[in-house]
Amino acid sequence: MSNALTNDEPLPLLKSLDWRDWLYAIVLLAGAIFAFSQYSHYMDVYERFFLFGAALTFSWLGWRWKAMRNLVLGVGALSLFAIHLYGADLQRAEQAFFLKYLIASQSAIMWMNVLFILATVAYWAALFNRSQFTGKFASALAWAAVLMGFVGLMVRWYESYLIAPDVGYIPVSNLYEVFILFCLITALLYLNYEQRYATRQLGPFVMLVISAAVGFILWYIFDRQAYVIQPLVPALQSYWMKIHVPANFIGYGSFSLAAMVGIAYLLAERGILASRLPGLETMDDLMYKSIAIGFAFFTIATILGAMWAAEAWGGYWSWDPKETWALIVWLNYAAWLHLRLVKGMRGSVLAWWAVIGLFITTFAFIGVNMFLSGLHSYGEL
């Protein structure tokens, strides 16, 4: 009986780790120490903090979500392989077989695009065939797409420094790069929920919004040559950007995810695909969780943006169209959360609201760049 008592007891995180977790953390830490020993004289105090902060953050993420370990190690290994193949010569992208067809940034990103489209098809097939196997295959495709996307960004980071040391920048700086980031973050958030809720039935819907983003990326590549690495304008040369942008895209990604679940909810409510989708309550809960995490990160991103603006433009808030639309998005989801948490509202009104929220978010994300002018000139179309 005392066994039953201890068996059921929740373990603190550190006690629940097995040898693979520790090995994973040690690899990350060793990597950080190696990087520090090689390059510390190029780093200022923030960069040192970021280096070890990243090792700790990704260890923790990998401990909490085991699948993350494989992703981080995979991205690291492939990126290092690409850097090795480059040998500090940008021309190698055209000569080395693996670079040209697989892991030069542009190739990797094209692989990501293809894999996301395939994953979308597979998820829909799994939904209609009720096939477990196809569903697993779809998940694997989505994971592969995420892997290639992150490799693409990492290698692009390196390539930007190969163009010229003063050109180099972290690839979260223009519309093309953040669209890739959007696909990756949305997919990761979804894959996390997929495991936590043990359901693949929402994949088809979430993958639709990712496929739409992939469509945009393809258009941007072929019509506008967006993949060409251009140096940063002075306003973007800031530390704030490196945390402002990813935080923002956790927000955008979660809001899109919530909206797609909202669509599934509304369909199921009308009896469409109802037998193939998770229960209404599950979807409702997922929608809330997604908006909650999105709201938290969007708040952080907006605050970081304000701090950056204070440093770059002389004021933390200038009512620039992008800022104003960020506020509108924030107000929208603040109202949503009020209705849900305080009023206890559930169901189709909030689902509709989440879907409409996607339009507001999309407008804040790209509509502002397309139709309105302002200080956020990183992505004029």
Partner: protein
């Protein structure tokens, strides 16, 4: 008295209600959209052109040109602060009570009404069971209090995640703090002074020293955001704040001088950094403070932050060759100009004023044919206006170096009749020495009526076969060549077209046009050689290159009649002087806004990720245990946690 009280009470209830708060959020969101759709703080004439006088005035009254500082918008914000403040005032005591409460007085009856409950029958030592239950709770992060009821049963009341409610208080307090900080940094103090009649916006274009005290703000001004443009070598102790259709002068507690302004470029020509070397002159300083600011790297002195905001020309000195476009002269006149100053050309009614507006040393343009190539630096350009005595002006932009367009090089000058129009470009082909002289020589001969006879003679000698030496034919041919040249030199191709329309029957026009074009091309060839002779040069080689040059020259000659100015300004030399655009701000509300932001983030995480749950375990004397669980948020998490605990308790008590 009583009815007054109820009105106050109802107002209080309304303002502090969540319905009102959510409505305010929506109204604020919608109101914010206006300012993103309508470009804010543009010069007023732009709005008049856009909307017309009638709507312009209505929109002005509504404050739509500066929505975010309009009275009604500030009122919405104020309502949000009041509503949120009252909301906190109204809810906090209850929340704190709720956080402290254990609910250890819950009766068995009320516990049985819970949706999440389960009952167990246990064997064995009551005391041992009790210990086990308490350990169960502690291990799962629950704190508890026990209470013995009269019935002999014992109630264990436990709770976890009580700080969730603190999240509510934090977030709402944060909103109030942020709004108050924002209002301090907004221009509320000025608005009040303006309402009371102490201050007015200056709309006249006068020097800072002449601006009267009503439009000056003292260095003690609590918060401001002002701009200052300093040419290199200049200094100032005032800055300007644009407001509606005018401006205010903000006096500074120190003097700031610009030593040097630098732009660094990437290898591709795009700007890499903007830097200003500043000197702060202040009697409080033992010696002047020198500092370099850059984008993202401001200087803060005496609570005033100085930012690198933009840059412009600070009065560069420019040397031009002025080519008369319709004269028969092939030599230019030297003209000197300075940016931000003007030069008067000519006398009397035909005089023209050239106002030099801007000089840019670097221009990154994408000139590839399909627009897909790489943008590159095409060198300096100068922007100027040419104004006649009537006050009518056209704007021009001239590039110093030839640009490569469609594979060939041209001197390019853009012209637009008004600032709202797009530029239309005049392209002048380069000669074999990459200069403009070849075209200008050719132009001078075409414009020289006295040369037309010679051109016609040469053309007839070269073009007509020697045996067709009929003097009459030659004379007719030469006369028509001269007529065409005269027409072309007076109005280009459109004059030729008019000529055809006037004198040729409709069915023959196409043939006539082809013949005329041939003749003009032939005449151009001869004119070019004549021009070269006059300049002491060899005749042009009969090559495709020469053909293309003549074709381009004829086209630009024809375009001269739409150019709008009787001269072309060729930029020869420049002495660059830059001016740095600084932004100076004092924002004491910033610290409030930032601390509010920290509270907001903490509050949001507490509110969303701390889950308040309560558990009651009623241990009855008959060895039955009633387990009940609740949360202030009924959701799937609660269902799952309850299900888990129910199973675990089952095992624990088995």
């Amino acid at each position: 008295m009583k009815s007054q009280q109820t009105v106050t009470k109802r107002l209080y209830e309304l303002l502090s209600s969540m319905r009102f708060a959510v409505s305010l959020l929506s109204v604020l969101g919608i109101a914010s959209i206006i300012g993103t759709v309508l470009k804010q703080n543009e010069p007023y004439p732009n709005y008049i052109i856009q909307f017309g006088q009638f709507w312009f005035e209505i929109f002005e009254v509504l404050g739509l040109y500066d929505v975010y500082h309009s009275a009604w918008f500030l009122l919405i914000l104020l309502f949000l602060v009041v509503s949120t403040g009252l909301c906190i005032y109204r809810q906090t005591p209850g929340m704190l009570r709720e956080m402290r409460a254990w609910r250890e007085n819950a009766t068995e009856k009320s516990l049985r009404a819970f949706s999440h409950r389960h009952e167990y029958q246990v064997e064995g030592n009551a005391e041992e069971v009790r210990v086990r239950l308490l350990k169960f709770l502690t291990a799962r992060g629950f704190r508890f209090r026990t209470e013995r009821h009269d019935s002999g049963s014992e109630l264990i009341a436990a709770k976890a995640g009580t700080y969730q409610r603190l999240g509510y208080i934090l977030t709402h307090a944060a909103i109030v703090i942020i709004c108050v900080g924002g209002l301090i940094d907004g221009n509320v103090p000025f608005k009040i002074q303006e309402l009371l009649g102490y201050k007015t916006v200056e709309v006249r274009d006068i020097s800072a020293a002449e601006v009267p005290p009503e439009s000056r703000l003292s260095p003690a001004n609590l918060s401001f955001r002002a701009n200052l443009t300093l040419p290199e070598g200049a200094s100032a102790d005032v800055a300007f704040m644009r407001m509606r259709d005018g401006y205010l002068v903000q006096e500074l507690p120190f003097r700031v001088a610009l030593k040097d302004f630098r732009i660094e470029h990437y290898a591709t020509g795009q700007p890499k950094s903007f830097e200003s070397d500043l000197v702060i002159l202040d009697p409080d300083l033992k010696e002047p403070l020198e500092a370099t600011i850059a984008v993202n790297k401001p200087l803060i002195y005496k609570g005033i932050a100085i930012y690198q905001s933009d840059f412009q020309d600070g009065g560069s000195k420019l040397d031009f060759h002025l080519w008369g476009l319709f004269s028969d002269q092939a030599v230019p006149m030297a003209v000197k100009g300075t940016v931000h100053q003007e030069v008067r050309l000519g006398e009397g009614d035909t005089a023209l004023n050239v106002e030099f507006d801007d000089f840019r040393k670097f221009n990154i343009l994408n000139l590839s044919e399909d627009g897909k190539g790489k943008p590159q630096n095409v060198g300096p350009n100068v922007t100027f206006k040419v104004r006649d005595t009537q006050g009518q002006a056209r704007e021009y932009v001239n590039y110093m170096q030839p640009l490569k367009l469609d594979g060939r090089h041209y001197f390019v000058s853009g012209m637009r009749p008004t600032l709202q129009d797009e530029f239309r470009y005049l392209r002048i082909p380069v000669d074999e020495d990459f200069g403009i002289e070849g075209f200008m020589r050719f132009r001078a001969v075409v414009m020289d009526k006295l040369a037309h006879g010679e051109i016609a003679r040469r053309l007839s000698a070269n073009a007509l076969p020697a045996d067709a030496a009929d003097a009459d034919v030659r004379e007719k041919f030469e006369a028509s060549v001269m007529q065409l040249l005269a027409a072309f030199s007076e109005g280009g191709y459109s004059r030729i077209a008019a000529l055809i329309e006037d004198s040729v029957p409709e069915e023959q026009r196409e043939n006539a046009a082809q013949t005329y074009i041939k003749i003009i091309n032939g005449a151009a060839w001869e004119a070019n050689n004549l021009a070269r002779e006059r300049a002491g040069k060899q005749p042009a080689k009969p090559s495709e290159e020469t053909q293309l040059f003549l074709q381009d020259s004829l086209n630009s000659l024809s375009d001269l009649f739409f150019y709008g100015a009787p001269f072309y300004l060729e930029l020869k030399e420049f002495e660059h002087r830059e001016a740095s655009g600084l932004q100076l701000t004092r924002s004491p509300g910033k610290n409030l806004v930032y601390s509010g932001s920290v509270l907001l983030v903490l509050g949001i995480f507490a509110m969303l990720y701390i889950r308040e749950r309560r558990i009651w375990l009623l241990v009855k004397p008959d060895n039955r245990i009633l387990f009940a669980m609740s949360s202030n948020r009924k959701n799937r998490d609660l269902d799952m946690e309850f299900a888990g605990y129910r199973e675990q308790l089952q095992r624990l008590l088995a």
